[in-house]
Symmetry: C2
Subunit: 527 residues, 2 copies
């Protein structure tokens, strides 16, 4: 069922000469199918088709796009066990996680299906004419969101389904009316091909134009570079490392016509443990955080890599308990030998910094590709001075920073780079006492959490998954939730356009029944 070929629109194709295989980290062996890297010709063909498709697809009604998105969810479900087995064999992740992530992926697709069917998302604005206004008549102007054009989506290593082929970026772009070309992640190219086949089936069943979706394989960087530089590409979505995301951002910025790149990148997700909370709940918190740090072998962008507290017995006790709890957890298998290799390398590198102390590390023998979790600690002053300690170690690793006092805690937070999340562990009244610390934290993150863990990114309209650079390349957008559609659209105005030729969303009689801002009032009324 997995052929190793690319999808150039609905056509399977393998013109490239280079091949690669995926790897099963659990069995520590290569998987069987060889995947053909997309050739330059295939890239051009995919983009030509995408552009042709765009000329139709951009004007499709919300209902038609909704049918397509729901059909993708159905077809993914119909892949059944094959998808789950392939997912597991290419990621080392457990079946439960595969099923959960499939559910999340389908939920995202269906959420966007609902969004575009409902139609309110286009943010329709209408200012009616005032022909008699002095000194100049006022024209009739109407505005709505329209799609940017073909979008390239890079699959993420750590979410073979939810942030890859038919993940959030793809679902949002298709919902917006943008054709999508996926640069499949080489670690799970088989999963990618299966999902791509589901999208292609859905596109055919619901009468979408050929080229609305393509899936390209590649194990190196060349295909990605060519895609980002391609003049027919109008935006890029990426989830991954800072180095990778920044490289794509730089390429896009250097184009003759620069294009937006939304890259969701690294984060150490600082957690501030305030004294009263540690005093009251130190033991519970230690267990809770041992779980969060090691969840999914630490392979979440919201993994808590930085725990901040104020020096003293309660913090010491917490560190002891965290260290005890974390080594009781069974190590997890990482996604790929390259990922665990980088984890071990980064861990060693960060441990070489003066003042960073290893408190505990899983010590027993583990199988190949299983990550040994570790807790480290460092003085606040040392952390403040040495930004090498601020870098992410992707994996089940965390660092407890022992701050001298509130002022140092605040100084550290102000010095951090942008983060996806910040978490505050506090007793209620500490929120007032540490107001300036919280203000500083808010300014560095996209989402702030009270008495919880950063892992677990709820898919809902209120979610912000993004944040100041380098959490993302553009803090003005979220990568998760329905509003992530805003990355792929632009506002467009019609001036004095005849009603019969306006899109449905802007017609006088409001045939879609959507909420519109008409002469500065929100209303569903007809004009």
């Amino acid at each position: 069922m997995i052929t190793g070929k690319n999808y150039i629109g609905k056509q399977k194709s393998s013109k490239g000469e280079r091949k690669f295989k995926t790897f099963n980290p659990l069995s520590n062996t290569e998987n069987e199918v060889a995947f053909a890297e997309a050739s330059t010709e295939e890239i051009d063909n995919a983009l030509d088709l995408a552009w042709q498709a765009f000329e139709e697809f951009r004007n499709y009604s919300g209902s038609r796009k909704s049918e397509f998105l729901n059909a993708i969810a159905d077809e993914i479900e119909a892949l059944g066990e094959t998808l789950i087995d392939t997912y597991c064999s290419e990621s080392g992740l457990p079946v439960g996680r595969a099923i959960g992530e499939r559910g999340r992926t389908m939920f995202q697709l269906r959420s966007f299906a609902d969004l575009v069917k409902d139609g309110n998302w286009v943010e329709a604005n209408i200012d009616t004419a005032q022909p008699d206004r002095a000194p100049l008549p006022k024209p009739d102007i109407r505005k709505m969101l329209i799609p940017l054009g073909p979008v390239v989506v890079f699959g993420a290593s750590n979410f073979p389904l939810a942030y890859s082929t038919a993940g959030g970026d793809t679902a949002a772009a298709l919902a917006a009316g943008c054709p999508v070309v996926v640069k499949s992640h080489p670690m799970h190219a088989g999963t990618g091909e299966l999902v791509a086949s589901a999208i292609i089936k859905a596109a055919e069943k619901t009468g979408m134009p050929n080229g609305v979706f393509s899936n390209l394989n590649s194990s190196g960087i060349e295909v990605g570079v060519k895609l980002v530089q391609h003049p027919k590409v109008k935006a890029v979505g990426f989830t991954g490392s800072i180095r990778g995301g920044r490289a794509l951002y730089d390429l896009a910025a250097k184009r003759e016509e620069p294009i937006p790149v939304f890259a969701e990148m690294g984060s150490i997700n600082p957690v501030v443990f305030l004294p009263d909370a540690l005093k009251e709940r130190g033991d519970v918190l230690a267990k809770y955080y041992a779980g969060s740090v090691t969840m999914g072998a630490g392979q979440f962008c919201t993994n808590p890599g930085l725990l901040l507290g104020i020096k003293g017995d309660h913090l010491n006790h917490f560190i002891t308990k965290l260290s005890e709890a974390i080594v009781e957890i069974e190590p997890g298998c990482m996604l790929h030998p390259n990922i665990i290799g980088t984890y071990e390398k980064n861990k060693k590198q960060v441990m070489a910094n003066a003042g960073l102390e290893l408190v505990s590390e899983y010590a027993e023998e583990v199988g190949a590709n299983f990550a040994k979790q570790a807790v480290t600690t460092v003085e606040g002053a040392t952390f403040l001075e040495n930004t090498a300690l601020h870098q992410e170690v992707f994996g089940p690793f965390t660092m407890v920073v022992q701050c001298e006092d509130k002022a140092q805690l605040e100084a550290i937070i102000k010095k951090l780079e942008g983060q996806l999340t910040g978490t505050l562990i506090a007793e209620g009244m500490e929120l007032s006492k540490y107001a300036s610390v919280i203000e500083a934290l808010k300014n560095r993150v996209g989402r702030i959490i009270f008495n919880g863990v950063p892992t677990g990114v709820e898919v809902c309209p209120s979610m912000v998954h993004g944040g100041p650079y380098p959490a993302s390349t553009d803090s003005r957008f979220t990568a998760v939730g329905i509003h992530s559609i805003q990355r792929w659209v632009r506002p467009f105005s019609y001036q004095d356009w005849p009603d019969q030729f306006l899109p449905e969303a802007l017609k006088n009689d409001n045939p879609l029944g959507i909420l519109r801002l008409v002469n500065n009032k929100n209303t569903k009324d007809r004009i």
Copy 2:
């Protein structure tokens, strides 16, 4: 009253050694006051103050920001004749235009005052908790827009008020809660200082923190470069040439922490004249367009520099009438010797292209700095092949392209760079007949106009002033209208945050009475 000094917050300052003067193009003489270029120390001080101000200002209520914005409008009005005289002496523009632009500026400020007082603009979203949800409880998540940080605004040469010191970019940024540092345009530094003094007065009267606004003078590029590279600057607004805007965009993209630059740049604003319309109304259209091309000496970003028609008697007749009408109009004084110098140079340069024919040009003697308007024409095939003909000639200049047929017309539109506007001059039924031409045009522009002129940018929520590159650096935003505030804000999520510590916009009892998306329903209800 005009001192030639910078405003570093509320402090007047002139530590730089380089000085420059503004120029009166009407009298063709330098104005008196010498302006001191901002020094590096002054730039740093302005940004330090801006950052300090941000720590307070970002949490100010909508009402407080609203008072501030209204006070700015009041103080600008209170400058009275002095402002109008200075404006005219630094721009060569007539008093009527100065008064009109002042009105527009005040209207923009008051529109943003209304927007933030009302409070709906923060796009509040609330998803309430479901503690019993299986398999995992759902947290309470709430989202709203918050300001990015200090914004640098570059004044525009062609709008000393409405797109400069207290223009749209500044008003939107202050409304968002971002302190603003203006890099004043050197051609109207006196106007800039007067407006800056009004902003500073308004800030003091309404109790804004020092540093919420600064105004820096500079005649070269160094100050602008330093500002865009400054780590405390979080976004940039610019209106001007493609070269200037792109240079700033490139600088911002190369920063360690890249920041968004919204640059509204050049445009030739294509106008498509369809055959039936030319047949019915050729004479009227010729007069109408002669006026639009020469309005304000052609110094509008929406000036119609490209007129497209299909070859034949009606187009010939239109060209004749346009040529006759345009030379009957009195030439206008351009903003500055540099501007008219560039106009004449660009005109000469474009005329050197093979196949471009001069049809008419104002021939009588004119005063220094007065621009001679010109109409040119070229064959469709020639225009299609030679993109040098697609470049903007900023001034009262237009080019009529004579297309062979509809297919060539469409091909030309598809080859154009991104534009602020596209205009269609047509009889009603031609909208169907030329549907593919219109589709192509829509894809290249931010605003499409039916049977009008592109000049005249109405300030209203439905306006899009922006468009695909190089009309702007990011087509996902508009530079005009209340939604231009979206350039300076980012979404921010609170997870499980205690109600009493949430901002007003997100509290359970909705004290602001704003419209919120609560569990996917738009409502003003309390939770």
